[in-house]
């Protein structure tokens, strides 16, 4: 027995929403990062689901690109994170608002 694609899509939507809400409401930079990863992987799940449903390898290929982008983003993001923590230990995302207009 196989689970129908709708359930995967629902799960993907739920994961994406959790990620998005987490990104908006949390102040801890590390947690915000994890939320971003959650959203990315929710998107990946959607891709894979559709790849299976439509029998199209393209969806799986897209996932690889997303993974690469996510990895690159983490590298840059963690670099910024370290830089922020060097200036102030225990800083939250709201502490980094020097570009305020």
């Amino acid at each position: 027995m196989s689970i129908s694609g709708e359930w995967y899509l629902v799960l993907s939507a739920v994961l994406f929403t959790i990620g998005a809400v987490g990104l908006l409401v949390r102040r801890n930079v590390l947690v915000m990062f994890m939320c971003v990863e959650l959203m990315l992987n929710a998107a990946n799940l959607t891709f894979v689901t559709f790849a299976r449903e439509l029998n199209d390898i393209g969806g799986q290929v897209a996932v690889f690109f997303v993974l690469v982008v996510a990895a690159a983003e983490v590298v840059v993001g963690l670099g910024i994170l370290v830089a922020i923590f060097r200036r102030k230990v225990g800083a939250t995302a709201d502490d980094a608002h020097t570009l305020k207009g």
């Binding site: 998005a20 990104l23 908006l24 409401v25 915000m32 995302a93 709201d94 980094a96 608002h97 020097t98 570009l99 305020k100 207009g101």
Partner: protein
């Protein structure tokens, strides 16, 4: 030998180049001698070419030496060529001759000047430009020379630019000339448009297809150019101010040569003027009016050079009167004799100014005859020449002009005769105030022996004749002034040498008057009487008087308030307009628009900066909201 013609302008140009490159090293007085040498050589070449031209039969006395193509654009092909014909050679001969004498004089006159070599650089450049103007075979090269003499005139009027008056006089001359030159340029456009060429011979051959209205426009526009260059109403005030330049400049440029360019142009375009007598008569009337106005102004001047300046304007008016009456030979004749006696008078004035230690007020001179005999005698010749006392040259040339004026309109003759009387009078006034009467300058003797010891030697005056390089030109010019009249005698057809010489150029278009011998004698006698009365009245009035306020009104001293009128009618409204443009148009409108745009951006920026909160979550919310909107749009569109 006629092929040597290119050397005529080339020699002064070479002198200019040499002096420009190493004039300062050559120094004083070598630079002056070199400049004089080149101009003198140019004069010699001119005489050789003149003789070669003279040797030809009258019908073939026109020779074009084509030098090179200046530029060629579409159907416009302008070459630099020299037109060697009796008119251009007559001009070239007296231009180079008088220039050489004035260069020689300048060696002495400018000897204490710091920028000695620079002066001769300009002078040589001037002679080159003037010769290009005179010898050109087309309008555009003539215009090149025309502008060339204009710009050198500016350099030389403002030669002592440290003096504000000289600097502004230079600018004034430039501006007045620009007004005239605009007319000249428009005339050139019109000529090219209608005939497809700018070469004299081609243009004059195609005049029949130009149309009467266009011909009138061309004639009057060229006359506007001539008005600027030759200081005619309404563009004459610059010439009086041009006296701020060194005196040899006044003699060369603002009396003998450059200012005659306008008259030359009128004689050169005689085929055009012949076809439109109305335009020609306009020129005659303007010339007559200028002659009269300037002569009255000359009667009340105090500056020795300004008397001569207004006198020049007046004489130029006579020349235009002649040219406008179709008497081109008379115009050239007067130009020629005027070049001699006016150069002479200016150089004499320069000697007096030098001797008086730069004093130019004739009221502060007097009794110089005994101290400066050569200057006094030569100036006397100049005075009698310009006054028209027989048998000096002015008598013949002015008589020729007046007879032609009568045949066009007796009123013109009347104005001319009154002006001739005034000429004799104001020159007499100047001669009496400068050379005769009582000395009104402070000499060493007046201070007394005791005071003399206290007075610095420098401050006392010992007027005496200048050194040889300055007196020789005076004597030569005096001889020429005295004798030049015999070039063209009215009494017998065999004696009109100048008329016969110029007839290949102007002959067909020359106005012919048919006065009997008796009438000719009558005119001559009247002219002589007018001149002698003028001289006599000057003697009566100024023999023992210095100031006569009644006949030197401010109205005439300020030359009919023309400057004042221009100042109030043009300069001041222009200033008001300019300050309006500066304060309202510039500050409020243009700056206002620019600043307004900037302010609008600044205000919106101030409002929008709140969006940039600096909080990542806000931006994330924005991104999310935007994504939701885009997706919603896509979904609803897909469904719709």
């Amino acid at each position: 030998m006629i092929h040597a013609a290119f050397l005529i302008p080339a020699l002064p140009l070479a002198g200019f180049a040499i002096l420009l490159l190493c004039g300062r090293r050559l120094g004083n007085p070598l630079a002056g001698w070199i400049a004089t040498g080149f101009v003198g050589a140019s004069f010699v070449v001119t005489i050789i070419v003149f003789a070669a031209l003279f040797a030809r039969s009258p019908d073939t006395r026109s020779f074009t030496q084509y030098l090179f193509t200046w530029f060629s654009v579409d159907r416009m092909n302008v070459g630099v060529g020299l037109l060697i014909d009796p008119l251009s050679m007559t001009m070239a001969a007296f231009v180079t001759g008088v220039s050489a004498l004035i260069h020689l004089y300048s060696i002495g006159y400018m000897e204490h000047d710091e920028r000695y070599s620079k002066f001769f650089v300009y002078m040589n450049l001037f002679v080159f430009a003037m010769l290009m103007l005179v010898l050109a075979n087309n309008f555009l090269v003539a215009f090149f020379g025309w502008e060339g003499v204009g710009v050198v005139s500016y350099f030389l009027i403002a030669f002592w630019f440290g003096r504000p008056a000289a600097a502004s006089a230079g600018k004034k001359a430039m501006i007045y000339n620009r007004i005239g030159d605009a007319g000249f340029l428009v005339a050139l456009f019109l000529i090219f448009e209608k005939t497809g060429s700018l070469t004299y011979s081609v243009v004059f051959a195609h005049l029949s297809s130009v149309g009467r209205a266009n011909l009138i426009a061309i004639a009057l526009l060229l006359f506007l150019g001539a008005c600027g260059k030759s200081a005619q109403i309404p563009l004459f005030p610059w010439l009086a101010d041009a006296m701020e330049g060194p005196t040899p400049v006044s003699a060369l440029i603002h009396a003998a040569t450059m200012v005659t360019a306008g008259v030359y142009l009128m004689c050169r375009i005689n085929p055009i003027l012949h076809l439109v007598p109305d335009a020609a008569h306009t020129i005659a009337w303007v010339g007559a009016a200028t002659a009269f106005v300037a002569a009255t102004a000359a009667c009340a001047q105090r500056d020795i050079k300004k008397v001569l300046a207004y006198s020049t304007v007046s004489q130029l008016g006579f020349m235009f009167l002649a040219a406008g009456c179709g008497a081109y030979v008379a115009a050239i004749f007067l130009m020629l004799t005027h070049a001699f006696y006016k150069a002479l008078l200016f150089l004499g004035a320069g000697s007096v100014i030098h001797a008086m230690d730069d004093e130019q007020d004739i009221k502060k001179m007097g009794a110089l005859r005994a101290l400066m005999p050569i200057t006094a005698i030569t100036c006397l010749v100049g005075w009698f020449s310009i006054a028209g006392v027989p048998p000096f040259s002015g008598f013949w040339s002015k008589g020729d002009v007046l007879m032609n004026a009568w045949s066009v309109a007796p009123a013109l003759w009347g104005i001319g005769a009154v002006t001739a009387f005034l000429t004799a009078y104001y020159m007499g006034r100047q001669y009496y105030l400068v050379f005769l009467g009582t000395p009104r300058w402070s000499s060493a003797k007046e201070h007394g022996d005791v005071a003399m010891k206290a007075v610095d030697h420098e401050s006392s005056l010992h007027p005496k004749d200048a050194r040889k390089v300055m007196t020789v030109p005076l004597v030569v010019l005096a001889v020429l002034s005295g004798l030049a009249g015999f070039l063209d005698l009215p009494f017998h057809p065999d004696f009109v040498f100048l008329e016969r010489w110029l007839s290949p150029v102007v002959g067909a278009n020359l106005a012919h008057h048919s006065f009997s011998l008796a009438a000719t004698w009558a005119f001559s006698l009247v002219d002589a009487a007018v001149a002698l009365v003028g001289v006599g009245i000057a003697a009566l009035v100024w023999k023992s008087a210095v100031d006569r306020k009644a006949i030197e009104p401010r109205f005439l001293y300020f030359a009919w308030f023309v400057d004042w009128t221009y100042d109030h009618a043009i300069a001041r409204p222009s200033k008001v307009l300019a300050s309006f443009a500066a304060t309202v148009v510039e500050m409020k409108m243009i700056d206002g628009a620019v600043n307004g745009i900037a302010a609008a951006f600044r205000n919106t920026g101030t409002k929008l900066r709140r969006v940039q909160s600096g909080y990542v979550r806000n931006y994330a919310l924005g991104v999310l909201g935007g994504a939701v909107l885009v997706i919603a749009y896509v979904v609803f569109r897909a469904r719709g």
